[in-house]
Amino acid sequence: MNYAVETKNLCRVFKRKRSRKERKQEPTKENQKEVVALDDVNIQVKEGELFGLLGPNGAGKTTLIKILSTLLLPTKGEAWVAGHNVAEDTFNIRMKINSVSGGESSGYGLLTARENVWMFSQFYDVPSKVAKQRADDLFKTFGLYEKRNQKMRTLSTGERQKMGMVRGFITDPDIIFLDEPTLGLDVNASRVIRRFVADWVREHEKKTVLLTTHYMMEAEELCDRVAIIDKGKVLVCDTPENLKKTVRRSSTLRLEIDPLKDYSKFRDIPGIRNFSKKVNPETNRSELVFVIDDEAAVSDILSVVTGEGKRIHELRKTEPTLEDVFVSLVGRALE
């Protein structure tokens, strides 16, 4: 089997200076603090696959993509992209990959959108004519054709982000890394991008996408397989369907209540596999999600709430989603 991406015991540790506060709290000679961004990551992405990395902020998604796109070295372990080792054979990897991240607004404001993406294509040995043709096709796809000859500095944030997608695909890479490509885009633009990515992988047998996201829906809808990653560790890796099966026997209870003083009581209730809570700042209500294995837990949950004399605003039992898989594994919601 040819893997597009493979990692073996991949670790990445960052050293950063300790802040004054940290030094005060914990006075040691060490001036540096180690941050473990990736901890023993083993993944295998098959050629032609649309693979998702799902995880909360700081999980290590971007770090992994930076290692795979040859911008960072592993601290320990190894990684291969298109069969080449990321620490040794950067040229052959770089010829075959490209990467787009959602927050990016790269290029020069003085150049037009089309000139910008053309320029980037020239770093990948794409003949000028081919590049211009591809650029126009891609601009059409992303609904930016009318604005392609506008100076980049006159484009909106979202338009620049779409330009970033054109930049990424103009080199026709074998493997593309998309780091939260729909971050901050409106519903319509996100849909266009998702559809494009899905079609691109489907229409080209050997093209591979590795996508990071913290939108559950995106991972569920788009990806052939998903790895859930938290605090640098891959917790599970499977198809969305299989992942959902792991919580199929259980059910999900969503609850909207006035904030409680003490949530720890839920931990003692048998039959709760895991739960997450967050406070909605608009309504100032607590939104709780319980993954429960035993229906009997429902009445115990409700009595904890009413026991504190708090109101229940909403109560819903739903089919398991990928989000519930995440809650049951991590004990916290994603978004």
Binding site: L71, M119, D125
Partner: protein, 271 residues
């Protein structure tokens, strides 16, 4: 064609493009890049005229004023470029691309030379029209001297680019501190020999010093006595500089990239 050669030629042209376009699309440079040198030229011309110096000195000054364009371009644009690219988020896209990192800097240099040549020519033209320089000879030697000076000068700029990135803002302050003294010791507006042999020799590390000195000797043979060394020797030194600086640039760039990949800093913008 060899794939590496083709890729890197494309990359150089691609990276030069925004600079070329930049100098054509932004007319505001006219003020800074032409008017200011012309003003400086005017000041020195009046001094020399008051001193009743030979008319060749007007030519000295115009040439120095024109070469300022290249020097400012190297000091400010070239040297600070990678730092800039990092700030706007382009650097990691450049580092991810398969082209040689030297093509990136090479493209910047080619674009910079293009833009600065326009400025320099405009300065010469205005200077000659306003102040009437002396009668000129145009020896062929001028061409290799000019080209080698540019290679050495931009090679130095390439080297600075990586160092800047590692030193960040401090390097910026250092450049502003150095700008004036280097102007002075490089003899933009007077023969460098006037500073005394040892100062002149030390200033020769900056390629523009000997480049200017040689060009003046060739253009104004009647005052060649003001030259620091014979032109052949100066060309020899310039060739050595034109080899050393790009090599050092390459080493600095490789170190910078390596450091960034290990530490996760430098080229990587925070997300």
């Amino acid at each position: 064609m060899n794939i590496h050669l083709r890729l890197n030629l494309r990359a150089i042209l691609g990276r030069a493009y925004p600079r070329v376009i930049g100098s054509l699309r932004e007319p505001s440079w006219i003020f800074f890049e032409i008017l200011l040198p012309v003003l400086a030229i005017a000041a020195y011309v009046f001094i020399y005229q008051a001193l009743e110096a030979p008319p060749e000195f007007v030519g000295f000054v115009i040439l120095g004023g024109a070469m300022t364009a290249f020097w400012l371009n190297v000091l400010w644009s070239m040297a600070a470029q990678l730092y800039w690219e990092k700030e706007i988020g382009n650097l990691q896209l450049y580092m991810m691309a398969p082209m040689s990192r030297m093509s990136l800097l090479g493209g910047m240099a080619v674009g910079g030379i293009f833009g600065s040549s326009i400025h320099a020519s405009a300065t010469v033209l205005i200077g000659v029209l306003l102040f009437k320089g002396p009668a000129l000879v145009f020896p062929l030697m001028l061409i290799p001297i000019f080209l080698v000076t540019l290679i050495a000068l931009y090679g130095m700029g390439m080297m600075f680019a990586s160092l800047y990135l590692m030193w960040g803002r401090e390097a910026w302050h250092m450049a502003s501190l150095m700008e004036e003294p280097i102007y002075f010791v490089s003899g933009f507006y007077f023969p460098v020999k006037a500073l005394g042999f040892w100062v002149a020799l030390s200033a020769s590390v900056i390629p523009i010093t000997l480049g200017l000195d040689s060009m003046r000797q060739l253009l104004f043979p009647s005052v060649a006595a003001w030259g620091l060394f014979p032109v052949e020797i100066e060309l020899g030194i310039l060739v050595v500089l034109a080899i050393i600086f790009p090599i050092m640039a390459r080493i600095a760039l490789a170190r910078m990239e390596n450091l960034a990949r290990r530490r996760g800093g430098l080229t990587l913008r925070w997300q």
